[in-house]
């Protein structure tokens, strides 16, 4: 019996049937981490003592027969850009190498209220900028399906840990695909909810218009359980949506009859790996066989989304990261003569190359001479893209696309040219621009045994549609049951 291959829902049943205690579960997960994390490198920091303390509390409650959330007693990791009170939160940056938050993010509080147990903080690309975790100040993470490859990014540690059985599920962030890409690379389910569905309070900002706190799970049922725990209005986040939140587990039904699916041809053209395209289309065909209606469409604005995304994201990053100046917290250079050089030297030493690159591009597009021709133009383009998505999603229930143009890349295989690296985001950024929910769902393996993910994109707040389609597809396939041999 391998505890580390099980889903949160399966473990919740075992906890209630007294087949295992939460303390035993925590011990088993730390044993697993000890056995494999040397190879996977998913975690930046661990908190065994704190985890065991909380597990004892959960066990006592279970013993008393208290009714608890399905997530109670479940060991999880949290991406290291999400504040955890008293537990180091580095953003995988030298800038915040020693930063211990004085408060927890709302998503962390909500998970802790549900009884989930945070066992550690997960590796990522520095400040969530990148798609491989190779931009981490500390070390790159490795893909449990092939240790020579990366787990995707920026929430690469969040995906690698779940795939390797070092975390039952995990929380990360998605600004341009940072949850969905690693989920796709590691045969996991990653859902970026609608903008504002999960509070971003206490999550270190990168590009606020697009940032969305998001979960990675082993299957669709766990995704619904986690959504139930972490969604909801948060007065501390003014972009958080105040609405009636559904019970997402009610969406777990097998029914796609009459479902209208759009396949934009722009996602299946040149530059997309053939095996990826075939796997996504094969799953789409399954949905069609079960009664869905599939139509090929065109979304011509998709080709403009990358420059628009990078202009806006970098502009916002240059503004958001201005708070890191070596004064109140974070890295302070030893060498400075006045307050100006204190800022510049602390930031010059504290940030890695990709972060600097994006701050400089952001500063460029926001400077007076370039504002209209770049920044304003990008905002207008983004609005056009949003309108195009809204229109398609009025006519169709879901858009299907690959999550990535390829499967996981070898570590070190990153392109010399940063622009070519950005092309990997082409399938995922549009959901962030449009603010709509998008899930990456396992849909096959390539000839090297590397996982392939497909995306299900729906209209704003239509997470239930995505869950229903994903659940239906998941029941018809066995991809979710595949685990890497590690």
């Amino acid at each position: 019996m391998h505890l580390f291959t099980k889903t949160a829902d399966e473990l919740a049943t075992m906890l209630r049937n007294k087949e295992v205690t939460s303390v035993e579960l925590i011990e088993a997960y730390f044993e697993r981490i000890e056995a494999v994390d040397d190879k996977v490198k998913a975690y930046i920091s661990l908190d065994k003592e704190g985890a065991l303390e909380k597990a004892e509390e959960i066990d006592a409650k279970l013993e008393k027969g208290e009714e608890l959330s399905r997530l109670a007693g479940i060991p999880i990791g949290i991406k290291d850009n999400i504040c955890t009170k008293g537990l180091k939160t580095t953003c995988a940056s030298r800038m915040l190498e020693d930063f211990i938050p004085p408060y927890s993010a709302t998503v962390v509080e909500k998970l802790e209220d549900a009884g989930a147990i945070i066992i550690g903080k997960l590796n990522m690309d520095e400040f969530a900028m990148g798609g491989s975790t190779e931009n981490s100040y500390f070390f790159p993470s490795h893909n449990p399906w092939d240790l020579e490859r990366g787990p995707g990014g920026s929430s690469g540690g969040s995906a690698a840990a779940v795939a390797a059985g070092e975390s039952v599920f995990s929380i990360g962030t998605d600004t341009g695909g940072s949850i969905r890409q690693p989920a796709s690379s590691c045969n996991l389910v990653g859902l970026k909810p609608s903008k504002g569905l999960v509070s971003n309070y206490g999550v270190v900002s990168y590009a606020s218009s697009f940032d969305q706190t998001s979960p990675i799970t082993k299957d669709v049922k766990d995704m619904a359980l986690v959504l139930n725990a972490i969604t909801g209005h948060d007065p501390k986040d003014s972009t958080s949506i105040n609405m009636e939140y559904p019970d997402y587990t009610k969406a777990l039904t097998e029914d796609v009859k009459g479902l209208r699916i759009a396949l934009p041809k722009e996602y299946f053209g040149e530059g997309f790996n053939q095996e990826v395209k075939e796997a996504v289309l094969a799953s789409t065909k399954k949905l069609e066989d079960m009664g869905a209606v599939v139509e090929e469409i065109s979304m011509p604005l998709i080709k403009h989304s990358l420059p628009a995304y990078y202009i806006i994201a970098c502009a916002e990053a240059s503004s958001n990261l201005a708070r890191l100046d070596g004064v109140a917290y974070g890295h302070r250079a030893k060498d400075y003569t006045d307050v100006e050089s204190l800022y510049s030297n602390s930031r010059g030493e504290g940030f890695g190359a990709e972060v600097k690159r994006r701050i400089i591009l952001g500063t460029f597009v926001l400077s007076a001479a370039n504002y209209d021709s770049y920044y304003k133009k990008a905002l207008e383009t983004a609005k056009l893209i949003k309108e195009e998505h809204n229109k398609v999603l009025e006519d169709y229930d879901v858009i299907i696309a690959p999550t990535m143009p390829t499967t996981a890349l070898k570590i070190g295989q990153k392109q010399e040219d940063p622009v070519k690296d950005y092309l990997n985001d082409i399938c995922t950024i549009n959901a962030n621009i449009a603010g709509v929910p998008a899930m990456s769902l396992p849909c096959g393996f390539d000839k090297d045994g590397l996982p392939i993910g497909m995306q299900l994109i729906a209209g704003e707040f239509k997470e239930e549609t995505i869950l229903r389609v994903a659940y239906t597809l998941e029941q018809a396939t066995d991809f979710k049951d595949q685990r890497p041999k590690l």
């Binding site: 211990i100 202009i311 510049s344 010059g348 021709s373 207008e380």
Partner: protein, 95 residues
């Protein structure tokens, strides 16, 4: 666009970001590529878009101004690289 090292150093100065010579050279090449890539948007007709015309579901979020407990000073200072007499400590700013 033709961005050079001098442009990069000027932008880095605006962003309070010290760069080494080799970083400035490398970024000049990268930025030039990134900016040329972004120029592709210039050909797109966006004249139908009015950025002032906000989505209908975007509204001001207001709350009552209530007195609530705040974090203790010690907690807020705990991550400061340098502190003195209960304050963040920086080099002299005003002569």
């Amino acid at each position: 666009m033709g961005l050079n090292k001098k442009d990069v150093l000027k932008l880095a100065g605006l962003a309070h970001l010290s760069l080494t010579e080799s970083e400035a050279e490398e970024f000049a090449k990268d930025l030039d590529k990134m900016v040329s890539f972004a120029e592709e948007l210039q050909g797109l007709d966006t004249s139908s878009i009015d950025l002032e015309d906000r989505d209908t579901n975007v509204y001001n979020v207001l709350r009552k101004d209530e007195v609530k407990p705040s974090m203790a000073k010690e907690e807020l200072l705990a991550n400061a690289p340098e502190q003195k007499e209960g304050c963040f400590f920086v080099p002299q700013i005003v002569e």
